[in-house]
Amino acid sequence: MKTFDYTIKDEVGIHARPAGLLAKTAQKYESQITITKGENTVSCTRLLALMGLGVKCGDTVTVTVNGNDEDAAAAAVKTFLESNL
């Protein structure tokens, strides 16, 4: 299992467009990828749930990746967050 924290820098937070792209990114991997804000954890492949987390600029989220391709998946999600959010 791999886990890392990321602080959102985008002004609008995890809004529709990046949430959609993040879900697409996550769907490419076999590993379970989840994102946690406070007490709530959702699967990265679930668009509505991801948007429902209400992640805003300045919030720190924890990404957890678990599965066979977890190294590649974690790296991809990290790169995605850094360049989009």
Binding site: K9, E11, V12, G13, H15, A16, R17, A19, G20, A23, K24, S43, T45, R46, L47, L48, A49, M51, G52, G54, K56
Partner: protein
């Protein structure tokens, strides 16, 4: 005649007949079903049709509003396929034995309520997206395709609200304007209308719906947000005139966009734009300005209840630079004091604030605030073509102090291994003192920028806010023009360039005078860029100077 006021989301005027937008088949009944799996099959087939429709709407949007704006329909397709959404619908059909229409409607309500209850206006607006896709699936289930056939005449579409897919699906050629009772300017519909270049007014209120009738004449003013139903002749004539002027302006815009700022004899000048917030960048690009000649950084401070951090400022500067790509962006450092006050600065009340502790004086008195801004600016410099200018300088020693602080900031960044680019530094010429010693200031900087508003006030000893002295406050006063000319000569003699960023820059009666002085850049409000370009292109400097 009846008038409603909403929020205009795209500035343009439309005059024409109303067409009330009707939806079909959205009323959903709860029906008990026997075969849950068959009902799920019905849902799956309807979903497939909905996805296909969204696919073609996406295609249409790609052509009409561009990739970035069309993306919402890709998101819609993902929402239709969303696991949680589908699980909720399956669950409801299986456990409650309800029809698919009802399950979709109930699920849509739950998700849209989740968004509506979020404490963020952007997310609240997403409720409309969930409802949009759900209504589409329900329409597919009941075969009630929302086919709004429009007549051949162009009309103003009126509705309670329009979903993004409805907005894009309408035939653009037949629409004069959109007017809705509800909706937010954050909604994708508003964004799409803006990109389709169609005047749109939203939030006209529920009463508006009672007054709209098919075929009634109406006026939609996207500038003011006014919607007039059944206008009298006088009003109609006034708006037709306004519309004509607008069309001419738009023609000018089309005609002059992309053209050079060059006189008949081949003299070139830069025309940049003045802005006060990141929100104005759209207008800068739309009006084809060559860069930003004055970015007032005060808004970062005035909007806050405490000092903006280096990080906050860095993000804003970076965004401006990135949006302007390689074009020049000149940011003026904090110009606070006098009429611009923020409580947390705790400035003492002054007898004569225009001559008091303001702008660079305040920055030099409180170097920690100034250095935070300088650090943010230098760090952002790697993202574009940045220039920094300092307001209200009156002496060489002040400029020395400023430059020493810049060096200090650069040394700090070097030590922290934070990158910065070579940027241009400039001084504003807005006091007679600065103009008179411009020969001494010019060798120390890369450029001058003349702030004509303050220069006029200080040279003529005229408070521009005071209506009683208007006739003494001649902005074309020879003293002011001589000071500008003197500064231009001294700038050029020392290899610096000079621009004008005050109101005078947009005064086309002086454009030729400025060109003759050799002014390199004029920075004006975005909406004046093309007007000045038009003036420049009609000037011939080889002709004898007109006698004033």
């Amino acid at each position: 005649m009846m008038k409603f006021t909403g929020k205009g989301v795209y500035g343009a005027i439309a005059v024409g007949k109303i067409s009330v937008y009707e939806r079909q088949g959205i009323r959903v009944k709860r029906i008990k079903i026997e075969d849950a799996e068959a009902e799920i099959q019905r849902f799956e087939s309807a979903k497939a049709i909905a996805l296909e429709q969204l696919g073609s709407i996406h295609e249409k949007a790609l052509k009409e509003v561009g990739e970035a704006n069309a993306q919402i329909f890709e998101i819609h397709m993902m929402m239709v396929d969303d696991e949680d959404y589908n699980d909720a619908i399956f669950g409801m059909i299986r456990t409650q034995n309800v029809n698919a229409e009802y399950a979709v409607a109930a699920t849509a309500k739950n998700f849209s309520e989740m968004f509506s209850s979020m404490d963020d206006s952007y997310m609240q607006a997403r409720a409309a997206d969930v409802e949009d896709i759900s209504n589409r699936i329900i329409a597919c289930l009941t075969d009630g395709h929302s086919t709004n056939t429009l007549s051949d005449e162009k009309v103003i579409i009126c509705a309670d609200d329009l979903a993004p897919s409805e907005t894009v699906s309408l035939d653009k050629e037949k629409i004069l304007a959109f007017a809705t009772a509800h909706g937010s300017s954050n909604s994708h519909t508003a964004i799409l209308a803006r990109n389709m270049n169609i005047p749109a007014i939203i939030g006209l209120g529920a009463d508006f719906l009672n007054e709209i009738k098919n075929g009634t004449m109406a006026i939609a003013d996207g500038f003011t947000g006014e919607f007039i139903i059944d206008p009298d002749e006088e009003t109609l004539a006034a708006y037709q005139k306004k519309q004509k002027a607008e069309t001419e302006k738009r023609m000018l815009l089309q005609e002059l966009t992309g053209k050079e700022n060059v006189t008949l004899d081949g003299t070139k000048i830069n025309i940049f734009a003045n802005i006060g917030s990141v929100d104005n960048i759209g207008a800068v690009l739309l009006n084809d300005a060559g860069g930003i000649g004055l970015f007032r950084s005060e808004f970062l401070y005035l909007e806050k209840t405490d000092y903006p951090t280096e990080e906050e400022q860095f993000r804003v500067y970076k965004k401006v630079l990135e949006s302007m790509a390689t074009k020049k962006v000149i940011i003026r450092t904090l110009d606070i004091g006098a009429d611009k006050q923020a409580d947390y600065f705790h400035l003492e009340k002054e007898e004569n604030p225009a001559l008091g502790l303001r702008a660079i004086r305040l920055c030099l008195e409180r170097p920690e605030i100034f250095k935070t801004q300088l650090r943010a600016l230098y760090r952002a410099s790697v993202y574009g073509n940045l220039g920094i200018m300092f307001p209200m300088v009156t002496s060489v020693s002040e400029l020395e102090e400023i430059l020493a602080l810049c060096d200090e900031v650069k040394n700090e960044l070097d030590a922290e291994k934070l990158p910065y680019s070579n940027l241009e530094l400039g001084v504003m010429i807005e006091t007679p003192a600065a103009a008179i010693i411009s020969d001494k200031l010019a060798p120390m900087v890369d450029f001058f920028s003349v702030g004509t508003n303050d220069l006029t006030q200080y040279t003529l000893a005229c408070d521009r806010q005071n209506p009683h002295i208007e006739r003494f406050c001649n902005t074309h006063h020879e003293a002011i023009l001589r000071l500008i000319e003197m500064s231009a000569k001294n700038a050029h003699a020392n290899g610096a360039w000079i621009g004008i960023c005050g109101e005078l820059a947009a005064d086309t009666a002086l454009t030729e005078t400025f060109l003759r002085m050799g002014i390199d850049e004029l920075s004006v409000s975005p909406s004046f860029v093309l007007k000045v370009r038009d003036a420049v292109r009609k000037i011939d400097l080889t002709r004898p100077e007109p006698v004033c």
